[in-house]
Symmetry: C2
């Protein structure tokens, strides 16, 4: 066995991912040493409660509640505690004591990324976070390195497994949101409090990280437009299917170019219609995928498991090996680039296509009125489908209008929908959904 | 504008990819400098004929026929000439004169990779080759870095755009191979001499590169089992579709584990049946995709354009930026790992499922005879479908047997098919296809 240099690895957190990382570090110690060119010695695992029951049979003397002492003298610190504090403080301590950091903490990076990357830059350390953007899917290195000579135009990501699982089952089984959510909670695909997933908070954090990297721009989390999937119901799913679409919760990161040539970006998370022939439409179950459109490379897609303890551990260990190789090879960290720092525009400045579903009075002249309001609002109609709804005996006749638009400015669209709602001929705005993927 | 350090970049070759790389290096000079942390100065382009007509309007004084002088003093040498010599000699000269090398030369790496990587190791240089394995698709960094802490079990790649284009059109249009090939040649998807593509030579080179990287093993090109797609006809396509499969030319790189725990690998390229629900089945046209199964990460897929000048240029430029960052950051190259160096076994030692199509005499006892021969040959039957073929008036009745097997050893299968052919009851072995993707 080669006599490798030893690197001291500290692990913070022993949850689903942390315990897998610890187990794999020990199981594959020899193979990892060969790959890293250094023996990765797990010197300790910081936890809140040393005596808590754990799934893996790690030696008890590895555990400590004293994270600060553990960090001192470590070469690589793996932060898998989650949350903002004390994770942030520990990561800064690690950087300032000369360690490289590996983290899967998307919430922290999406809110305190610049502070952490700046601290690393100051001392020539590196922060690795492959597991923070799309679980096991390698997307950070492709964006940061492989596409470093290209210009990313747009990223469309299915980056939350829970919501994709729910929407996929609603689509394939014709089930209602609440029923599938309850089932997902029972099966462990959704948390008891599903807010972070179904309201798009988790996806918004990942979108901020992906957009920062792709556009070399600091993207504050509150600049990410966010809508969840709780308003999606069976009838919307059915209508989408009928029109050749599927509804997915998408994280869209887009470069916008004005006629003047000045550039900005938009980062947004919302449920959107996507053509069934699009590669993202066939991402089923709790899988994730990130679709990248680049100027030279064209369309790329990265697909895999977006979550799961052992899957995420794979991404974390890849980062640990990279950090170790850098320790062996020498040299300073390259750091994150925010040199472009493009402005992040509000969603109102974005143009997409829309599908508007209305219930209107079934009488002469209504379509003309609706079309007139859309035209005045600078929303151009691409397709219209009108069907009469059986409103029951004695009720006035109602028609359903499904209008597909050409690309329109979100702000124009939104104001136009308000005017439609107040027009007197529209009984109900059933749904307004963006269409992505052109 | 930041006053960056200048790095001298030499380009060897100005074909479809080279001319795009040169154009992008100049067009995006400022942006690339920001990303690389260094100004990438294209100091010259070595070509055979300085006065040959070129698509891009590069200054004539950049061109030279004297590659050796151009390499002297360069920090980064981009080799896009293709072929073995003089590309090999120039790359070795570049490494030994202290440059990092970026190449898209799959033929060279598949045959002389170890020599080149060893030379780089000796002097601490790096060789980057993202464009050599799957065109614009970032697959080298994911395999080398992101999955460095994981164990790859299997790679199944659609790594040749020409053959995927042909097979996809045969599948969707019900066309014959020769007709689609002629059309592909007319449209520029296939070369006038299509041998390298349709006989699987190009895919075999890429398979050798991917397997070397995934399994940390030197894979000689002649250890790659290779079959092309010229024998695939409309009837095989129709039968595949009928059975819920599609035929794809797959590069399969697989880790095999004996009961004793000893490991080896198999690397093979052949047309295979794949379930229509498998993500690889929906890779259409000239696109490529690489499906990776790893122990911890699970199933991953990387999808995109496998060829094209500008698409491939994106991958080359990503490598150039990586090389520049390494020059700025300092440190020695990490090099390629062949520490595992597993044995590469012949295709006879591989187990897969098979679909065997036979024409047999339509008389009592034939199925029993066929089943008996399979059983004796250790080939277990999973499914059988028998249909009677109308052989025409006066001809003896013929039945078609489509047999799906459980997993069987290729060598057993092959010997069993020989025995079937000689059994007297089999009129014709119509086709034997492997089924991949379990």
């Amino acid at each position: 066995m080669t006599d490798y240099r030893r690197l001291r690895v500290a692990l913070l957190g022993a949850g689903a991912v942390g315990s897998q990382v610890a187990a794999l570090l020990r199981q594959h110690a020899d193979e990892l040493a060969d790959r890293a060119g250094a023996r990765l010695e797990l010197v300790g695992i910081a936890v809140r409660d040393v005596d808590a029951p754990r799934e893996t049979d790690l030696p008890r003397d590895l555990f400590t509640t004293d994270a600060e002492s553990l960090i001192v003298g470590s070469d690589i610190v793996i932060e898998l505690m989650g949350g903002i504090e004390p994770a942030r403080a520990y990561i800064l301590q690690a950087i300032n004591s000369g360690a490289d950091v590996v983290t899967a903490n998307k919430a922290l990076l999406a809110t305190h990324g610049p502070e952490i990357f700046d601290a690393a830059d100051q001392v020539g350390a590196e922060v690795y976070y492959e597991a923070a953007a799309a679980g096991a899917i390698p997307i950070i290195r492709p964006l940061r390195d492989s596409l470093a000579g290209d210009r990313v135009q747009r990223i469309m990501g299915i980056v939350n497994g829970t919501t994709n699982y729910i929407l996929d089952r609603m689509d394939t089984e014709g089930a209602e949101f609440a029923d599938v959510l309850a089932d997902a909670q029972r099966l462990g695909y959704a948390e008891a409090d599903p807010t972070a997933d179904v309201e798009g908070f988790d996806a918004a954090q990942k979108a901020a990280i992906l957009a920062s990297l792709a556009f070399h721009t600091t993207v504050p989390l509150d600049a990410v437009h966010r809508e969840g999937i709780t308003a999606i119901d069976k009838s919307m799913m059915d209508a989408a299917r009928h029109a050749g679409y599927v509804i997915k919760l998408l994280a869209v990161c887009e470069r916008l170019t004005e006629a003047s040539g000045s550039e900005s970006i938009s980062v947004r998370v919302y449920p959107a219609l996507i053509d069934r022939a699009h590669p993202l439409a066939s991402v089923h179950g709790a899988n994730n995928a990130v679709f990248v459109q680049a100027e030279a490379a064209g369309n790329l897609m990265f697909y895999g498991a977006g979550a799961g303890g052992v899957q995420t551990a794979s991404a974390v260990l890849g980062d640990v090996v990279s950090a170790a190789r850098r320790h062996i090879a020498g040299g300073v960290g390259v750091g994150e680039s925010t040199l472009a720092n493009l402005p992040v525009v509000p969603v109102g400045r974005v143009t997409t296509r829309y599908q508007i579903t209305l219930e209107v009075d079934d009488q002469a002249g209504v379509l003309a009125t609706v079309a007139g309001i859309l035209s005045e609002g600078r929303v151009s109609i691409a397709t219209v489908e009108q069907t009469v709804i059986d409103a029951g005996a004695g009720e006035p006749a109602v028609a359903r209008l499904v209008i597909g638009t050409h690309k329109a400015l979100e702000q124009d669209l939104s104001e136009t929908v308000d005017r439609l709602a107040a027009s007197g001929v529209v009984e109900r705005v059933v749904s307004v959904l963006r269409v992505e993927g052109d």
